[in-house]
């Protein structure tokens, strides 16, 4: 009795966990607006199972460093430079879960679920990396132009959305936000045309720590992007200035912010002039630093420019994205300089050095493998797979119940749990379901049935040998165990090799097979056994077993 109860509790917990990992939940995805082509965030509710590219459509690219136009000095280093660059660019695609992965030390895998245009994808990924150093907007020209922009936007009928805290460019750090909030409210209550009235754009921007730096709440980045893209806003951005988004997301309290920088349109130097960049930790000060060396010509230019900009901030921009926080120029720098990262980790310094090298020596990439799958194909595949799965399951249910009667019903119940656990495993461990994965799922239903068949046949044999029902069940389970474990371990072994050898879709097959075999062991050995125990308890005087 006690035994049955604890078994049922264990099964209940597993079911609860499985259902919990499968209930649809809201996820934020960045989607491209079909009309304007701009990115915005959207919330969708879906079952948290990752679908492979073959099921949801998308582009898979494998790239290597192009050595056809002459050997590349250090291909390993070159591919990691390329990886860094592609990582910066990949959010240009606006796909939900892009994958950028370095495999085997020489190949870069890029997966873009939902992306339809291979030409565009290849264009973005193979574009040569461009690095530049630019001085930030030290005179706060952009900040001063904000009221004008807000006014212009208001005439266009764009005002601050209700959700945003209505305030003029507000100091985020060290100021009393509640007071600001009150001020904002007052401004809303008494609308006037003074410059303090909340504007559509300035309501989104918080002044950062340095001139030209603004912080935008993460969830409002798309709104800010679309406002800044408007031609009338573009026109009002002060001449000689550009706006560039940062790469880092900073969290202050519960909210996270993305940095937007107003920088000079003219770079003081570009990656072409950079020759070397290495990261190290300074043993004297224990700071992480990045040392860089410029070409002779670059050194002369840099010396002149830095001389004019001592105490200004210099943004490091790779592919239009400001990398990290712009460092301050402490003194005139010549051919050799160093960027001090203070107490930041050596890892971050290494990353910055990689950015600099990527800009200095762009690694040309060649595509060695390319796969584009249209979304309609994936939908067809899913509906075919589900159809086949349902038909297969119905057949299995019919065979099991026709042959094993009530015991068959118990096995079918265990099969339902088996399917639940397998899917939950896919979702819980974040594996990807692919088309061959669906086949693996159906195949592992067969394996799950096999475990039950082994047990039931064993029980029948024990019954035929004249044993009592209780004893026959006990021994049936015990004796079938060896065969189940051995055959399942062999199945897992082959699946493991398949997993390590395979790419995308085949990996999916191996994963569902492994999960399916594990789930089938649990359900056949543990769940079906519990059902039998309950059955025996309910009918203690059973003379014949319906098996």
């Amino acid at each position: 009795m006690q035994n049955i109860r604890s078994r049922l509790i264990a099964i209940g917990i597993m079911i609860a966990l499985a259902i919990w990992s499968l209930i649809p939940r809201s996820t934020t995805v960045r989607v491209r607006d079909p009309v304007t082509g701009r990115m915005h965030d959207s919330t969708v509710r879906r079952v948290p199972i990752n679908l492979g590219l073959d099921l949801q459509g998308g582009i898979h690219l494998a790239l290597e460093v192009d050595q056809s136009k002459g050997p590349v000095a250090d291909p390993k280093e070159a591919i990691s430079r390329a990886e860094r660059v592609v990582r910066t660019r990949v959010d240009e695609f606006g796909v939900t879960e892009p994958v950028v992965q370095l495999v085997g030390g020489n190949r870069l895998i890029v997966e873009l679920p939902g992306e339809k245009d291979p030409a565009r994808a290849k264009g973005i990924i193979q574009r040569t990396a461009f690095l530049e150093f630019r001085i930030t907007d030290m005179q706060n020209l952009f900040r001063e132009a904000l009221p004008e922009i807000d006014r212009e936007l208001r005439t266009e009928g764009v005002t601050a959305s209700g959700a945003a805290t209505p305030s003029a460019v507000s100091q985020l750090f060290g100021s009393d936000t509640s007071k600001q909030h009150a001020k904002g409210k007052k401004a809303q209550q008494a609308p006037d045309t003074s410059q303090n009235q909340p504007g559509a754009l300035s309501a989104l921007l918080y002044q950062g720590q340095l001139p030209g730096e603004f912080l935008v709440p993460e969830e409002q980045v798309p709104t800010a992007e679309s406002l800044l893209a408007r031609p009338e806003v573009q026109r009002l951005i002060p001449r000689g200035l550009d706006l560039k988004w940062g790469t880092q997301v900073e969290s202050r309290g519960a909210r996270s912010y993305r940095a937007l920088y107003a920088v000079q349109a003219r770079p003081i130097i570009t990656g072409e002039e950079l020759e070397k960049a290495t990261a190290r930790r300074d043993p004297m000060t224990n700071q992480s630093i990045v040392e860089f060396t410029l070409s002779r010509r670059g050194g002369r230019v840099f010396e002149r420019e830095t001389g004019q900009h001592v105490n200004d901030y210099m943004a490091i921009i790779l592919d239009s994205r400001v990398q990290g926080q712009p460092p301050i120029i402490k003194s005139q720098i010549g051919q050799r300089g160093q960027i001090e990262l203070g107490n930041r980790s050596l890892e971050e310094a290494n990353d910055l050095a990689l950015v600099l090298r990527a800009g200095a020596l762009p690694a040309p990439l060649t595509i060695v493998e390319e796969r584009t799958i249209g979304p309609s194909l994936g939908k067809d595949a899913i509906s075919d797979g589900i159809k086949a799965g349902i038909a297969g399951v119905i057949l299995v249910v019919v065979i099991m119940i026709a042959y094993y009667r009530f015991a068959g019903v118990l096995a079918v119940l265990a099969l339902v749990l088996y399917a639940l656990y397998t899917l939950a495993g896919l979702s819980g461990f974040g594996f990807t379901l692919t088309l061959p994965g669906l086949a693996g799922f159906v195949l592992s239903i067969g394996i799950a049935v096999d475990a039950n068949v082994l047990i039931f046949e064993r029980i029948r044999e024990e019954l035929a040998a004249g044993k009592s029902i209780r004893l026959a069940i006990d021994q049936g389970f015990a004796r079938a165990m060896n065969a189940i474990v051995d055959s399942n371990v062999c199945a897992i072994l082959t699946a493991l090799f398949l997993f390590q050898f395979g790419t995308g879709p085949v990996k999916g097959f191996a994963v569902t097979l492994i999960l399916g075999v594990l789930a089938s062991m649990i359900t056949a050995i543990f769940v079906t056994r519990t059902f039998f125990l309950i059955w025996l308890q309910r009918r203690p005087n059973m003379q014949t077993l319906s098996i």
């Binding site: 494998a62 291979p118 060649t366 595509i367 060695v368 493998e369 390319e370 796969r371 584009t372 799958i373 194909l377 067809d380 595949a381 075919d384 159809k387 086949a388 297969g392 057949l395 299995v396 065979i399 026709a402 042959y403 088309l435 061959p436 669906l438 086949a439 159906v442 195949l443 067969g446 394996i447 049935v449 096999d450 068949v453 082994l454 046949e457 029948r460 044999e461 004796r479 060896n482 065969a483 051995d486 055959s487 371990v489 062999c490 199945a491 072994l493 082959t494 699946a495 493991l496 090799f497 398949l498 390590q500 050898f501 395979g502 790419t503 879709p505 085949v506 097959f509 014949t544 098996i547």
Partner: protein
């Protein structure tokens, strides 16, 4: 209680010569076919370009063929993909002038389709391009995966059973893998990654079958029945027969549903698996036990040897005492 195939007394070991004949009847032409015609590797393995299209009207394959030839893609294959509106066009590298640049192939295919079907009347639903290097690598990796899993299983079975069982199981499984590859060659199925997955699944399935029978052999041996090895093997196969029939009845029916409803990508997988179930059962019943028998004859069990020599050693001191 409905029971099938219980208490059967089939003489599996006795009919092994017919089993050899059957194997030879399939393997000899199969090997000849494999060696002469080889395998129909997909572009994953050869490198090349695949374009799958969906047309709004039925496609005239003849017109498409001659238009492809005209665009210099004479080596390209056109394959129907489920209906007369879905076609896959495959251009392998190094065969019939498929250009190295996949974009050039796609452009040629598009030009062909624009000419034969009309622009806008079709859409490209899938496009794959694989470089020659990746293809070669993949082929190596596929063979390596099969070989390594053989090795791992041999070690596992040697550990769980005994190396003679492992060797016998591996030889039966090798029979199935080879047979399945011949079957793929016979049907001219395109060797894709999915097919490699199917071959490895056949490997797993056949092994599973053999392990179930060997498990019973091991168990019956422990009972120390007073019968010779062939009878013991026969007994074990017969005892597991009901399970074999039922399990594979269900697995064949799921494979059949996959083949019928699973769609074009899954169908070849299901067909290969369907064949694999049969060869798996065959080899587990006729090859693995027979192999075990011969292996045991060649390398007799130490345990058995000890059982024979033990009385002798016990007798020896007695002789000294005399």
């Amino acid at each position: 209680m409905r029971r099938l195939f219980t208490d059967t007394r089939f003489d599996f070991i006795g009919v092994r010569y017919y089993a050899y004949l059957l194997t030879a009847a399939f393997f000899i032409p199969g090997l000849v076919l494999l060696l002469t015609r080889g395998l129909n590797y997909g572009i994953e393995f050869t490198g090349g370009t695949l374009v799958q299209i969906q047309s709004s009207a039925p496609v005239d394959v003849g017109a498409l063929r001659s238009a492809l030839d005209a665009h210099g893609l004479s080596g390209a294959e056109i394959q129907a993909f489920g209906s007369d509106r879905d076609y896959a066009i495959r251009a392998r590298l190094g065969r019939g002038g498929a250009p190295e640049e996949s974009d050039a192939t796609v452009a040629a295919v598009q030009a062909t389709l624009d000419a034969t079907l009309g622009a806008g009347k079709y859409q490209i639903v899938r496009h794959e391009a694989v470089g020659p290097k990746v293809g070669g690598e993949l082929r190596q990796k596929a063979f390596l995966a099969i070989l390594l899993s053989f090795g791992a299983i041999l070690i596992y079975l040697a550990f769980r059973f005994e190396w003679r069982f492992g060797l016998a199981a591996i030889s039966a499984t090798a029979h199935d893998v080879l047979g399945t590859i011949m079957f793929v060659s016979l049907l001219r199925l395109e060797v894709s990654l999915v097919i490699v997955g199917a071959v490895l699944s056949v490997l797993g399935l056949s092994l599973n079958e053999t392990v179930i029978i060997f498990d019973r052999v091991r168990e019956n041996e422990r009972k120390r029945l007073k019968i010779d090895l062939p009878s013991l093997l026969n007994l074990s196969i017969n005892e597991t027969l009901p399970r074999t029939v039922l399990t594979h009845g269900t697995s064949l029916s799921t494979m059949a549903t996959l083949a019928i409803f699973g769609g074009e990508v899954i169908r070849p997988f299901a067909i290969v698996m369907f064949f694999g179930v049969f060869t798996g059962i065959f080899s587990s019943m006729f090859i693995a036990p027979v192999a075990l028998m011969y292996i045991r004859r060649r390398w007799p069990m130490k345990g058995a040897a000890r059982a024979v020599t033990a009385p002798a050693t016990r007798a020896a001191p007695a002789a000294v005492r005399d």
